[in-house]
Symmetry: C2
Subunit: 313 residues, 2 copies
């Protein structure tokens, strides 16, 4: 079995995190991933403390294995959510959209591992200095909110910049990506897009079918003008957004245009949905139990890693 | 030593191509790379048949090993350049900006291996059907003209789409990238940015020093509006271009603004130069002979590939 230091750090069997996907990563999905030996992560993006706590409780009821929670450090009630997390003591908190420095002591003294997402080497260094236990180096090929650097370029540069463990994210959906991530210096992977097709993932049939049909060029980035680029599957929404993005429309109107689009994707509204997904969508073609996804990824990675000597003559 | 099927296909010792960089990849650089066991590639981007033939002759005088030439299939005298190439019979021609179908028979009957750059799985399939001997899957983290897909996402999807050998390009500058590329399914790599710091590369001191100082976030993409995005190091030129790109400036004026910027970079004009380089620039910090660059990359890759079993328990 494939083991890295990340397994020991977090107490998991396979070095894989399931990405905290806004409005998607609920307690049921997270529990399925954790129960299968990875780290399931509940998304705190709704901003509703009761709802997030509820999903964490659902996960805890379904598995006794470690669970994580992902919080975007932007919004009105982050303090409240952060305090709830400190109380609930998940194994891991992953953070996005800024530095978790403010909550570091509170979380760490609750025994929680703090693992921020870093989109550059400078951010990774900042998080290491602030006490992070590891960092997730996430490339811009991933779905959802993205940075500029790609996984191939970002991971080695983050590894050179910090001494804490690095988890690679972005463009990884099978054992090839997992093995490549280890070669780049990472000690584990975070996977989002492929878990959208987990049987335990509650998104609409429309969303899953769009993903199954997608190929390598099916995603597009919108939102660059407002400074928060987002990658999603090409759709009626993305076409319309792209059409108006660089017109004379005001920032407020453009912002308003996207309101509700994530929820619409989850419930299967093809007219208004923004269906977040990464560039690796083309190899994500089959609905499977989360446990089977994890097993397949690591069987393939293990075969590639043990076969790596075939090129050395 | 690390060997793959690409070595046999092209007749080289190490599975590495030096990217055909416009106005940079001359006969001297190509010869140094080929003499060291990789495939040196002369750029035909100048469009000047005499000049390109001259550089190919220089390379042939400096080494008896295989040499390649890179042609962008856009411009007024492509037929003429293509015919000259068929006559000179380099070991390999790599192509960009379109399909080489038109020249395929001419080149192949001259014994030249034809290896197009593909920015998507669909293009890779098209090139395979047209008779290409291999394809280069180049991710958008590379320097110069770029596509949308990243190396991590593109390489496995191209590998799934075609049966011919796949060479990975974009974001690769050391043995970590080379080993990762093999895990993704490639049988070799193409490297551009790191060869900018080859001692045999004739770009200005200013260009080399900018690259040495660069970190992971030092590059920027300009030209998206005109449909031909280009990645370069942040500079006076790129700042000014970005400032005007989405203003009311006409396409013609915007195009005109960039004329001469590549040449200016090569000669070291900090005010007007567009210094092409990839996102991996942050780990490219040392001027070295091309032979040392190649040796370092493959020593590191070999160590990683033979050590890959350490994770399997």
């Amino acid at each position: 079995m494939l083991k890295t230091e990340l397994c020991d750090l977090v107490g998991i069997e396979y070095p894989i995190f399931q990405g905290g996907m806004a409005r998607i990563s609920d307690g049921k999905l997270a529990a399925a991933v954790s129960e299968a030996g990875g780290l399931g992560i509940v998304s705190a993006a709704s901003g509703d403390v009761e709802q997030i706590a509820g999903e964490m409780d659902i996960a805890a009821k379904l598995t006794s294995k470690p669970i994580g929670v992902n919080i975007m450090l932007r919004g009105s009630n982050i303090d409240e959510i952060a305090a709830m997390i400190a109380e609930k003591k998940p194994a891991v908190v992953t953070t996005g959209a800024g530095s978790p420095e403010k909550y570091m002591d509170m979380w760490k003294s609750a025994g929680i591992k703090v693992i921020p997402v870093a989109a550059s080497a400078a951010y990774a260094k900042l998080f290491e200095r602030a006490g992070a236990d590891a960092v997730i180096a996430e490339g811009g090929e991933s779905g959802g909110h993205i940075g500029e650097l790609t996984t191939m370029a970002l991971v080695p540069q983050v590894c050179d910049a910090v001494s804490i463990p690095v988890i690679a994210a972005g463009g990884i959906a099978d054992g090839r990506g997992a093995a490549a991530a280890l070669m780049l210096g990472a000690c584990g992977i975070q996977v989002g897009t492929r878990f959208l097709l987990a049987e335990e993932c509650s998104i609409s049939r429309v969303y899953k079918d769009k993903l199954i049909k997608a190929n390598d060029t099916s995603t597009v980035v919108t939102g660059r003008r407002l400074g928060h680029p987002v990658r999603s599957l090409k759709s009626k929404f993305s076409r319309e957004y792209s059409r108006i993005e660089y017109t004379s429309i005001s920032d407020e109107e453009l912002e308003q245009f996207a309101v509700g689009s994530l929820g619409a994707a989850v419930t299967g509204d093809e007219n208004h949905g923004c269906f977040l997904a990464g560039q690796i969508s083309g190899i994500v073609n089959k609905e499977q139990p989360a446990a089977e996804i994890i097993r397949e990824i690591f069987e393939q990675a293990e075969a590639l890693l043990t076969g790596g000597t075939k090129w050395v003559k």
